[in-house]
Amino acid sequence: MDRIYMDHAATTPLDERVLEDMMPFLKENFGNPSSAHFFGREVRKALEKAREKMASLLGATPEEIYFTSGGTEADNLAIIGSARALRNRGNHIITTSVEHHAVLDTCLALKEEGFEVTVLPVDQYGMVDPNDVREAIQENTILLSVMYANNEVGTIQPVEEIGKIARENNILFHIDAVQSVGNLPVNVEKLSVDLLALSAHKFYGPKGVGLLFIKEGTGINHLTHGGGQERGKRAGTENIPGIIGMAKAMELAYSELEEFVPRMEALRDRLIHGCLEMEEVKLNGHPSQRLPGNVNVSFEYIEGEALLLSLDFKGVAASSGSACSSGSMNPSHVLLAAGMSEQTARGAIRLSLGRHNSMEEVDYVLQVIKESVDKLRSMSSIYQGKGER
């Protein structure tokens, strides 16, 4: 069997239809959109059309869309930019213990500038309790940042309810929706959100481009200085092919959502059930409120890293959680936040399904997982399984 990719939460392949739309902008339409001449104007038109397309999919206006180099930059701009802009109103920020580092570390870094940060706990499924949000709000709270769906365990947060609480209390609400487009309906009106971050490569778009939705009337400071692009909010020559590709990828994600979700859920549930049939396995994340393609399971007595290595050797690409470049083997902060022991957290792997995965692949992967788990357990110093001593 060919190599099987089940790490779509880390990144997705570029959709062929997206690449097709990008090609003219990698060839003849190369102008700088800031140039007043023909070459620039043609590109400016395409850029603004892409912005309109994405705005309308999100339920926003084009003026509310700001392109960035990815989800990380969008998250940073949202959090640092709004916190600094609102500094005179207050200095308290609320976020959760299961955020991606692009949000969590950004909030914590603001402590150095005199901000106070409350990091909300989650339940055993990695879910935030809206009541905890309500209770954490102080007089000086200016910003609340909660992810839509978790990248590691797939848990979908009650963001609509949390958004209402933010609005009632007149607090800016930022959503890291990087894992959501293509998997969930994302509409800024329904979500009562002021700031929302996306990254194209998570939904079959190109790497190196993302966007930040900034609700009209929300003043945020820009973080980089330069040519005044993106109405002064994000300086630097725009990644035009990237933005054009992102628009097409988003269009496809929205139009194919209805077909995609049940198909992923069927694969996901087969994979989850197959894993749970093995011994001493635990499903991480929420049993029902989870991303359609997310499987995250802990196998007791073995380390996830060793299991991944073994799967990789057999042509199966999975992950231990977030694709973090540090190479560190610290157990996932998300699993620890959900109350898991370090040892069990170490036994976690994530399989994230995507457009091209099939039922046959799921069945093959289940077989490979079983073999690998059995082998690793048989040599594990902490396993005392049947038939052993």
Partner: protein, 123 residues
């Protein structure tokens, strides 16, 4: 991340498993990464390590290091075996990624614990 030799030892670990009536057993846990390695040895009257087995809960590097260590030790005299260092284990594997170097401690330390257990039993 890992070189081919490491992967080969990981995929085909030598001397993995249990041992009946070992002459020495050592178990070491690494607080830094939570890995645990157990080493069993069988020593003959000349002090030669005739057989060795390991069990490891840990990452690929920990498993490959354990496997390599057992290969290095088998047939050696206890006085020689006790001198084997984690660095030699890593070197024999053709190197480990920097953040994984500490994993090779585990196997060497577990062997030392097993040798101590053997010597204690001799007294």
């Amino acid at each position: 991340m890992y070189n081919e030799k490491v992967m080969e030892h990981f995929n085909n670990p030598r001397n993995a498993g249990d041992m009946e009536n070992p002459d020495g057993v050592g178990e070491i846990g690494n607080v830094r990464c939570g890995d645990i390695t157990k080493v069993f040895i069988k020593v003959n009257e000349q002090g030669i390590i005739e057989d060795i087995k390991f069990r490891t809960f840990g990452c690929g590097a920990a498993i490959a290091s354990s496997s390599m260590l057992t290969e290095m030790v088998k047939g050696k005299h206890v006085d020689e075996a006790v001198k084997i260092t984690d660095i030699e284990v890593a070197d024999n594997l053709g190197g480990l990624p920097p953040q994984k170097l500490h994993c090779s401690n585990l196997a060497a330390d577990a062997l030392k614990a097993a040798l101590k257990d053997y010597q204690d039993k001799q007294k």
